[in-house]
């Protein structure tokens, strides 16, 4: 089968330009409503539960999961399902442990929750390190993915693609702040869910809407092995370790946590996680169908001929069942997907730099609205430049391990301190601080020592650390450090502060 993938596709470019034009209109509209720091960081708390549910889904469903999981399923069948599930099961945890207390105790960043009961400056510095590390790796992964993807889809040079993503994303965040980012994420979520549903529908139509006929056909062509666990999970400890990072990492991603401040109250935050969980679960079930559809209708050889990693399975499938116009549409959706995710990441990075580090650490919370907005916007420009430079510098790197690293740091550095600060009265500043430092350092060091870096990338003969995923060591270590340090050097005034805040934790600011 010949594919027009990789050639400049007039329909794809048209769809893409329509999306850019629409999103810039939204940005211009949002810019007029972005006058205060509150509006810039949280859209003034005016987002509804349903809107935030879609925006959370839009913030979370990255091109890596759309194209990557569909590709993984197309090439290895069942194993792709393990990732889909891992990326969903973090959401109930966010709901049960984090969403409501976070909304009640904080204003703009998750560090607000820690700073509410611990000492401001040291805790915000520590939280910023964890946040910025997560954001940096996630952002690099998205930028490198964007460059490769756009080169494959539209035939644009890699560098041009990275610059376009950086500049458009900068326009959203710089002028439209959280209002524009939210609406870009909502539009993207609707397009992605709609596009994936339509694509899955077209696939199933070939099988008289009988899902099992599709799977049976795949088993007939490639053996029943595609329906059972394969090589992806070879080491049980590594599998659990990956699972822990995916599950608990979601609850430590700064750009996801920040979205809970955009709604009115804790009840709305709760409902919005319900919508997000429903949308994201539905989406991952769809990618499973898309992967099998590509396996059967396009064929593994045709998929790996275009991209060895299988990332082009979904676009090829779109072309196969809907022709060039549908390929154009799905390509534009994939591009929109990247833009929405990088905008969310950049905004949360800007909030960390300006709200946590500048306003609270440097200026001791004495900055007026004008200064806060100015610094937030300066930080946005800085982050956009850094992400473009890093995106180009990391060209050709394997993005999967950087996403894994981002989740591992989020789960090891941010999650333990955050969850203990919400539920454990005896947590101290020193405990939370050391947990965040140790969590970040352990995740980074263990990934560096893992076979992924030592053997696959540096081509050494062996690795000092046997696992590819550090979570099973770094997450318990981070919890142990937080608890150990807090118990060894107790601070009774901080325990009293927890009791004082207990009412606000449940009822919010009254």
């Amino acid at each position: 089968m010949t594919s027009s993938l990789g050639e400049p596709n007039a329909i794809a470019i048209t769809f893409f330009l329509v999306f850019i034009a629409l999103s810039l209109v939204i940005t211009a509209w949002a810019a007029r409503r972005t006058k205060t720091a509150d509006q810039f960081y949280t859209a003034g708390g005016s987002v509804t539960a349903f809107q935030n549910g879609l925006a959370l889904a839009g913030d979370f469903m990255s091109a890596a999961s759309f194209l990557g999981i569909a590709g993984l399923v197309a090439l290895s069948g069942f194993d792709g399902l393990i990732y889909s599930i891992g990326w969903l099961v973090g959401w109930p945890i966010v709901m049960f442990l984090i969403a409501e207390p976070l909304r009640n105790l904080g204003r703009y960043t998750f560090a607000d929750v820690l700073a509410a009961r611990l000492r401001q400056k040291p805790i915000r510095i520590a939280a910023s390190i964890g946040s910025l590390a997560v954001i940096a790796f996630y952002l690099i992964a998205q930028m490198v993915g964007a460059g490769n993807l756009i080169r494959l889809l539209f035939g644009l040079p890699y560098e041009a693609a990275v610059v376009i993503v950086g500049v458009v994303m900068l326009a959203y965040v710089l002028f439209g702040g959280m209002i524009a980012t939210t609406w870009v994420q909502i539009v993207k979520a609707v397009l992605l869910l709609g596009g994936a549903t339509l694509l899955a529908g077209l696939v199933l139509a070939r099988f008289d809407f009988n899902l099992f006929a599709l799977f049976a056909k795949a088993a007939e062509q490639y053996g029943t092995g595609v329906l059972s666990p394969g090589r992806q999970v070879s080491d049980p400890i590594d599998a659990v370790s990956l699972g822990l990072a995916l599950m608990l990492g979601t609850a430590g991603l700064p750009h996801i946590l920040m979205r809970f401040y955009t709604v009115r109250d804790a009840r709305t935050a709760r409902t919005s996680v319900g919508y997000a969980t429903a949308f994201i679960g539905f989406f991952y079930l769809l990618t499973f169908i898309l992967g099998f559809g590509a396996m059967v209708l396009i064929g593994r050889d045709a998929i790996t001929a275009i991209d060895a990693g299988g990332n082009m399975a979904a676009p090829l499938l779109a072309e196969g069942v809907g022709g060039t116009p549908f390929l154009g549409f799905i390509s534009a959706v994939a591009f929109a997907t990247i833009l929405a995710v990088v905008a969310g990441l950049t905004l949360s990075g800007a909030a960390t730099l300006s709200h946590d580090l500048w306003v609270n650490v440097v200026r001791g919370d004495k900055a007026d609205q004008r200064e806060q907005l100015l610094v937030a916007r300066g930080a946005t420009v800085l982050l956009a430049i850094v992400s473009i430079v890093l995106g180009i510098a990391f060209q050709g790197q394997n993005v999967a391990y950087m996403v894994g690293l981002a989740f591992a740091i989020a789960a090891s550095a941010n999650f333990p301190a955050l969850v203990l600060s919400i539920f454990w009265s005896r947590l101290t500043t020193a405990g939370a601080q050391s947990s965040m430092f140790v969590g970040t350092a352990a995740a980074l060091l263990l990934i560096y020592a893992s076979p992924t870096i030592q053997i696959d990338i540096l081509h050494n003969t062996n690795a000092w650390f046997p696992l590819r995923n550090p979570g099973i060591v770094s997450i318990p270590l981070s919890f142990a450090v937080a608890i150990g340090v807090s118990l060894l050097w107790p601070v009774s005034s901080e325990a009293r502060k927890f009791t004082e805040l207990e009412r606000q934790l449940h009822l919010g600011l009254e």
């Binding site: 959401w91 049960f96 329906l227 059972s228 666990p229 599998a239 009840r267 709760r270 996680v273 969980t277």
Partner: protein, 97 residues
Amino acid sequence: MPTLSPLEAVSAARWRVAISLTIAMMVVYFGFILLVAFNKPLLGTLLAEGLSLGMLLGVLVIIVAWMLTWFYIRWANTHYDASLARLRVPAAREGSR
């Protein structure tokens, strides 16, 4: 045993529900992962043409995640919010002095 203040009682109830549901989710998810890791042939068993036990269980994990979030929302909307409303009442009176 000292009696709990109304706030402490609400706090304890929420913690119990949150931690039980978290543990339930973890048991289901890691149970699935461990089955995948340790008993691949079992999960490869075909239940029908085109459907393996592993696929059925995988989809069930997603459905369990949905059901647990739905259950939490239902519990919180009825019990938790009602307790919070009771906590708020005296504060409102105090505030309107």
